[in-house]
């Protein structure tokens, strides 16, 4: 069967100063990124931020205007796609419509003139790994979306490339299948020990799959690090808002005379000054609070007062939508159904632990002290 870490040739990827302009638009504005050997790096970002362009540049389907791409110890910046030893799984799967699953899997190996025996062995191996045995003689058009997706992954795996690129490979699957395949990809990564770059704009995929999470915004890397670190210590409002579901709430507030209390209508928060850069009296700040970090103030004094518009009960949890200090605000409530507030109620909230984020309202950068 498959050997863990099938080839130990170093397959780290390094991008330096990658810029790319398409038409009149600067799409990539200087990307520097290290993808360590054997890691799974996830690129996330909103639609149009350049994720696919970056992936295509790594694959050699676009060539960067400036910058250097190093794969292993080789500069591949100007190399043809076929000379890079990279496999890519397209969002559309891009299966060859006239070839059976078997021939789709074999396509790259045949082009490389691998011996027939090796091709047969690889097809067997891959189809066993992905459960494609019964589909080998089918044409792509005779398969379901999930099966096609599997073949697309199999085609990449069969080649045993140095680097795997995935461009939103799950976005055409329904939710249940997506969860299942996501877990399989994670397992596959562990089994193969291969270097992978995975593009998505689904933050669940991003958080659960990544060794390294890269948040892109308008052609630049906004933040980059282990997913939990990025989640806990976002460098900017953009990253904070992008990760977490529902999104972080933002409120405008003013720093009080004591420089450690924040005030706004319906809000009164006391900060741990060690966590933030020094604040000045009367400074305007943007307060970030995740819906999951607030809870109803049952005995103690309320830090926030939420005027509730809508309550969404999911069974095990509920989300109360409303307003605090004139801004839209969502709070997660863990309580049972009978304790849920109703629209029109006001609800006093406190903060679990000290989970408050502060941002500069102009630059939108984090005001936390220990940002990486």
């Amino acid at each position: 069967m498959w050997q863990r870490g099938y080839h130990r040739a170093v397959s780290s990827l390094s991008l330096r100063g990658i810029r790319k302009t398409l038409g009149a638009n600067a799409i990539l504005k200087g990307i520097d990124l290290e993808v360590p050997d054997g890691s799974l790096t996830v690129l996330v970002g909103p639609s149009g931020c350049g994720k696919s362009t970056l992936l295509r540049t790594i694959a050699g389907l676009e060539s960067p205007d400036t910058g250097v791409i190093t794969l292993g110890d080789r500069d591949v910046t100007r190399a043809e796609p076929r000379d890079r030893d990279i496999a890519m799984v397209f969002q559309s799967y891009a299966l060859y419509p006239h070839l059976t699953v078997r021939e789709n899997l074999a396509f790259g190996l045949r082009l490389r003139k691998e011996p027939e025996k090796l091709i047969r062995a690889r097809i067997e191996e891959v189809s066993a790994m992905l459960g494609l045995d019964t589909l080998l003689d089918r044409l792509p058009r005779d398969m379901s979306g999930g099966q096609r997706q599997r073949v697309a992954m199999g085609r990449a795996i069969a080649r045993r490339p140095k680097l795997f690129l995935f461009d939103e490979p799950l976005s055409n699957l329904d939710a249940a299948l997506r969860n299942q395949v996501r877990v399989e990809i994670k397992k596959l990564h562990a089994t193969l020990g291969a270097t992978m770059i995975y593009v998505t704009h689904d933050q669940v995929e991003a958080m659960t799959l990544a060794d390294q999470l890269v948040v892109l915004s308008a052609g630049t890397i906004e933040q980059n690090g282990p997913p939990l670190t990025v989640y806990a210590q976002p460098v900017s409002r953009f990253v904070a808002e992008f990760l977490g579901s529902p999104s972080m709430n933002f409120l405008e507030a003013t720093v009080a005379k004591d420089t450690r209390t924040l005030r706004a209508e319906g809000l009164s928060l006391t900060l741990d000054p060690a966590r933030f850069v020094s604040l000045k009296p009367d400074q305007r700040v943007l307060v970030g609070l995740r819906p999951h970090d607030v809870q109803p103030a049952l005995d103690g004094p309320a830090m926030l007062t939420l005027a509730i518009d809508v309550v969404e009960a999911m069974g095990f949890e509920a989300f109360a939508h409303g307003h605090v200090a004139g801004s839209h605000f969502i709070a997660r409530l863990s309580s049972e159904a009978h304790a849920l507030p109703k629209p029109g109620d006001t609800l006093g909230l406190t903060l679990a632990d000290d989970r408050v984020y502060l941002f500069d309202p102009e630059s939108r950068r984090s005001l936390a002290r220990s940002v990486p």
């Binding site: 076929r82 496999a87 890519m88 397209f90 891009a94 299966l95 419509p97 396509f107 792509p140 055409n172």
Partner: protein
């Protein structure tokens, strides 16, 4: 269509069927007349409303199939060969020239001359071929290509190639770029990606385009009649027309000949119907 969709009510379906049957009858009536004429031993058309032969016989078919020239050449075989060679070579030429041209226009629509070239091609399609019959005659005469298969192939190609380019450009545009890019990442050169992935994916369109080129050459009469003057150089439509010549109109032989000429085209249509109906690209990309 979803399986839950209800079939239309019965009276509506009956009306639809009646309309379709009427349309089919309307289209087939003249064809049935031709068949009946071809099978009728009587010398003149009977003039009856019902297309049924008065004295059924295969004489007309025999007369057409086994006609010989004064020198003893088996004319039908000769003319059939002419038609096949001219039509097949026209189709082949059209595909061979139009495929790379259409691919270039589909994938690199901004190269120098792409826009103006396309417009020029379109312009050639606006004039009927007959409009240039006389200049073409002079050209062919100067090139000593009158009464030759090559001459006719060249003339037919001038209209078949632009048409094929438009057809195939649309086909190539509908093939997702992802397929080629996947092939190139998988280890193919651009040319290999084209030959191994794009061409097979475009096979139905290629077949249909070739069929159209073949058919228009097969059926073309006016230019062939202009450029061909020797019986042994005729294509079948020209030969056919000679049956209703100056002295007497042998409608029976004409009808029999028409049927014989139509058969290969019908056979081709039948063989290619799968390509005419459904595309092969389905299933390659997306769910």
């Amino acid at each position: 269509m979803t399986p839950l969709q209800r079939p239309p009510p019965l009276p509506w379906r009956m009306a639809a069927h009646a309309a379709v049957i009427a349309a089919v009858g309307f289209a087939l009536y003249p064809v049935l007349w031709v068949v009946s004429l071809a099978l009728d031993g009587a010398q003149r058309p009977s003039g009856r409303a019902l297309p049924w032969p008065v004295a059924p016989s295969l004489d007309h078919f025999r007369a057409v199939l086994f006609a010989h020239s004064r020198e003893g050449t088996w004319l039908f075989a000769r003319q059939l060969t002419n038609s096949i060679v001219v039509s097949a070579m026209t189709a082949l030429t059209a595909i061979a020239i139009a495929t790379p041209a259409a691919y270039a226009l589909a994938r690199f629509p901004k190269f120098v001359g792409a826009q103006s070239g396309t417009k020029a091609l379109l312009a050639t399609q606006m004039f009927p071929g007959v409009a240039s019959a006389i200049p073409l005659y002079i050209l062919l005469d100067k090139l000593h290509l009158l009464d030759t298969q090559l001459g006719l192939i060249l003339v037919y190609a001038t209209t078949a190639v632009p048409f094929a380019i438009f057809q195939l450009r649309g086909a190539f545009e509908s093939i997702p770029k992802d397929l080629e890019e996947a092939a190139m990442v998988d280890g193919a050169t651009r040319l290999q990606a084209f030959v191994r992935v794009v061409l097979p994916a475009a096979r139905p369109a290629l077949a249909v385009t070739a069929l159209f080129a073949f058919m228009s050459a097969w059926n073309e009469f006016i230019l062939a009649a202009t450029f061909l003057s020797h019986e042994s150089a005729f294509t079948l439509p020209v030969a056919l027309q000679r049956h209703v010549g100056e002295y007497d109109a042998a409608w029976g032989r004409f009808a029999a000949g028409s049927i014989i000429v139509s058969l290969p085209v019908m056979a081709l249509f039948y063989a290619l119907q799968k390509n005419l109906v459904g595309g092969l690209t389905s299933g390659g990309v997306k769910g």
